[in-house]
Each structure stands twice: as C-alpha cells, then as structure tokens.
C-alpha cells in the first residue's frame, strides 16, 4: 500500500502489492454498495464470519487458504477506500497468515502444541461471537417499550392530594441547559449563530396570538413604541416562522396589507 502503481486508470486497490483494476468476482458486491457493506462489519470476527457463512461453510472446517485470501482482499479494499481500519483487523490478518504458514510447513513435529491452540482458539472465538450476534438479533426482536408496546399515561383524578412540587432554581435550569448543549455539541453538523432571544420571544407571541384569531394583519403585529427595532424584530420573527412552515403570509393584491395566518395543512402533508 505504500507505492501506487502509475497506471492510466488508477487501480481500484492494491492487493498483495499488485494493482487491482476490477473487483474480484467472488466478492459478489456491487461497487457502490461496497463501502456501505464494509462499514457494517462489527470487527474482524464479524468479517470472517461473513466470509465463511456467505459460502455456507461449516465453521468447524474452514478452507483456510481461500478464506485468508478473501479476508486480505477486504482489508486491502478497506485501506484503498481509506476507511478507518481498526488495528484489530490487521491483527486478525496476521493471525490468519500465521495459521496458514504453519499449515504449509512440513508437519515434522506432530507434538507441536502451539499450532492446534491457535486454530482451536480462533474457531472457538468465531463460534462464541456468532452466538452473541444471534442473541443480539433476538434481543432486538423482543417487544420494546416505546417501539412495539407503549406505556399507558392517563390523568389522575383531580383534587388528588399531593405533596407540593419541588422547587427549582433558575441556576438549575441554566446548568441543565449547559449540560445538554455540551452533549449536543459533539453531534453538531455545523455551527449556527445564536439568534437574539427577543426574536424568539416575538415568535412565541405571534404564535400565541394566532391561536385566538384566524389571521392578523402584519401591521397589527407592530407596536408603535418599539420603533424601528420592533419592526425589524417582528419581521424577522414572521420570516422565521414562515421558514419553519408555521405561518402563511397572504397578500390579496399588490400593496395590499399583508395578512398573517397559521399554516394550513396542505395536500402534500396529507399524502405524507
């Protein structure tokens, strides 16, 4: 993998130091799907198990040379695709090669105790891993709360004697927010500039206002004493709510007053 052969078309991958221009036929994987499939392996044991099971082979009698060859092809493909390759995959490759080389050596020392150990251990690990893999599938098929079955949640009688609700300090709320933001930060796709709170406030006011009446003129949303800044905030709030598909803005004719109303469910929504 350290040298790249200068070819007219770049090789798909380097296998055993040789450029590979086409996917081996016995991989049975359309190239588009390759990356996805490679990413779905849960580790070297999973990959090895896949190679074995794909050919309906018995774990207890694995054709080592062939499986090792296929395993190495996958490893090199993964490296060619620059997939992050865990060290475990390489350790397994080394182990397979070692077992293979021992098998190829003249067996003039039949009491060598190391050799059967390596094989038996690997096979034992494969069996054990397959068992857990199936157990995980069985676990996932159990009826799960919130996915298959649902908790009941109904209102208790009124006037229920109850203890006073716990007190909460504003700092508790702030701390909670800080924690949740800190967590969310690890999963952010991109950064967005924080909007001023007053616009959020205005959005809520407008939404609440529209719960009571069908539609409102844009001008009626403005308050004189807020001045220019108030107009800007209100406009931004309306635009933001329109962008979020919460509001419709209607103008009967050019220069007519803008009417703001709650979004009506469209035909599209019903189809979905």
């Amino acid at each position: 993998m350290t040298t790249v052969a200068a070819e007219q078309t770049p090789p798909f991958a380097m296998v055993h130091g040789q450029p590979l221009h086409e996917l081996p036929m016995d991989l049975y994987i359309p190239p588009d799907a390759l990356e996805i499939i490679l990413e779905t392996f849960e580790g070297p044991l999973d990959l090895l198990l896949y190679l074995i099971r794909r050919q309906h082979l018995d774990i207890l009698a694995i054709p080592l040379t062939e499986i090792t060859r296929q395993y190495l092809v996958y490893i090199e493909l993964m490296q060619a695709l620059k997939l992050e390759l865990a060290a475990e995959y390489l350790v397994m490759a080394a182990l397979l090669c070692e077992i293979k080389s021992r098998l190829l050596l003249p067996n003039d020392n039949p009491v060598d105790s190391d050799e059967p150990d390596l094989q038996a251990t690997l096979i034992q690990r494969l069996l054990e891993y397959e068992q857990i893999k199936q157990a995980a599938v069985a676990l996932d098929q159990l009826p799960q709360l919130g996915r298959d079955v649902f908790a009941v949640c109904i209102a208790p009688p009124m006037y229920l004697p109850r203890r006073p609700p716990p007190p909460v300090a504003l700092t508790d709320v702030l701390n909670a927010l800080q924690q949740v933001l800190k967590r969310a930060q690890q999963f952010t796709a991109h950064q967005v500039i924080q909007e001023p709170l007053s616009q959020r406030d205005r959005m809520t006011v407008i939404m609440a206002h529209l719960q009571t009446i069908n539609s409102v003129s844009f001008y009626d949303l403005l308050t004189l004493h807020e001045g220019r800044a108030g107009v800007v905030i209100t406009l931004l709030a309306v635009l933001e709510l329109m962008r979020a598909a919460l509001l419709d803005c209607i103008q009967a004719e050019p220069f007519a007053p803008l009417q703001i109303r709650l979004c009506q469910p469209s035909a599209n929504h019903l189809i979905m």
Binding site: I154, P157, P166, L246, H269
Partner: protein, 201 residues
Amino acid sequence: MSTVSKSFNHVTTPLLKQVIEAALLASGETLTIEQLQALYSDEQRPHRTDVNAALAALRTDYANRSIELIAVAGGYRIQIRQEFAPFIAQLWEEKPVRYSRALLETLALIAYRQPITRSDIEAVRGVTVTTQMIKTLMERDWIHVVGQRETPGRPSLYATTKTFLEYFGLSSLDALPPLPQLSEPLANNPPVFIDETDPNL
C-alpha cells in the same frame, strides 16, 4: 371517504374503538376527533360519525371500570375516576421530590428555543422527552402549546408561560441569563443533530 367508512362500518367499528382507546391511553392527553381520525392513513380514515360512535361505545365499556372517558374543551380524554383518588394518592407519595435532570433540560430547551417541538428537544442528544415530563411541566403551568408545526404529524409547539416567568422572577424572556460561552451547537432550523451513522445509537 364517508362512503368507504360507511360500507365497512360493521367490520371496522370494534377495531376503531380499540385504536381510539390505545391512542387515548398512550398519549395521556386530550385528543381531538381530527387527531383520532389522523391515526389512520388517508384511504382508511374513519368518518367523524364512526369516531363518535366508537367514543360512545368506549364510554359504555367503562361503566364498571376505574376509568372514564370525558369530553373536555377541544377533545376527549381518559382519566381515572374520582373515587379512586385516595388509593392512587399512595403512589404519588413515593415519587421523588426532585425533578430529574432530563426534565430540567427539557424545560431549559423550551425556554431558550421556543417555540419548539418534542422531537426538536429529543434531537438534542441524550434528552428523552416522555409524555409524563411534558405533562408535569404543563401541570405546573410552566409550558403550554402555542401551535402545531405544519409537518406530518402536526407536532405541538411548546413555549413557556407567564407563570414560568413569574416563578423564576423574570420580567420577560429577554431577561433569561445569556447563554454561556459555548460555541452555539444548536441549529434552530433545520434541526440536524441526529447522526444516523453514529454507531452508538
């Protein structure tokens, strides 16, 4: 639509009744006739009269049960009958006297991101929003529904109330403490926090 539901009336009525019961028991909220109809896909959507008939049937079913179906402003709700209050009260006495971290986080997100839907909140990693949590915050009159987002499912949009401001001694939402110096991780629109490829999900 009416024709379809009418012709299948005999077949669908018992099932419809069960579906309505399931929805009312699972949501714990007041559901409108429209929300109950929307449980079905367009082609199978029951007619309003069928829904009403099913609700009436449920009310009869509950005659000897511990629950009752009541019509409240804007819809229907199942609740525990009043006479069971003394027994049920025992359960609530065992409840913890502190709010969970998840509940406080939910409240904080509603305060700072309003109006916000449940799934917006959930999209922020690690906070599961249970119906119970929303109910607790509603019962405390700290949050209320200010509308629905016009996306499939028409999810409720939550915002904080006047009571919330009063409880925390805030003159307005502007008076909320400024967010800490965290580089802003929460996009408001589009909410894009769930990393589907995250192997830990």
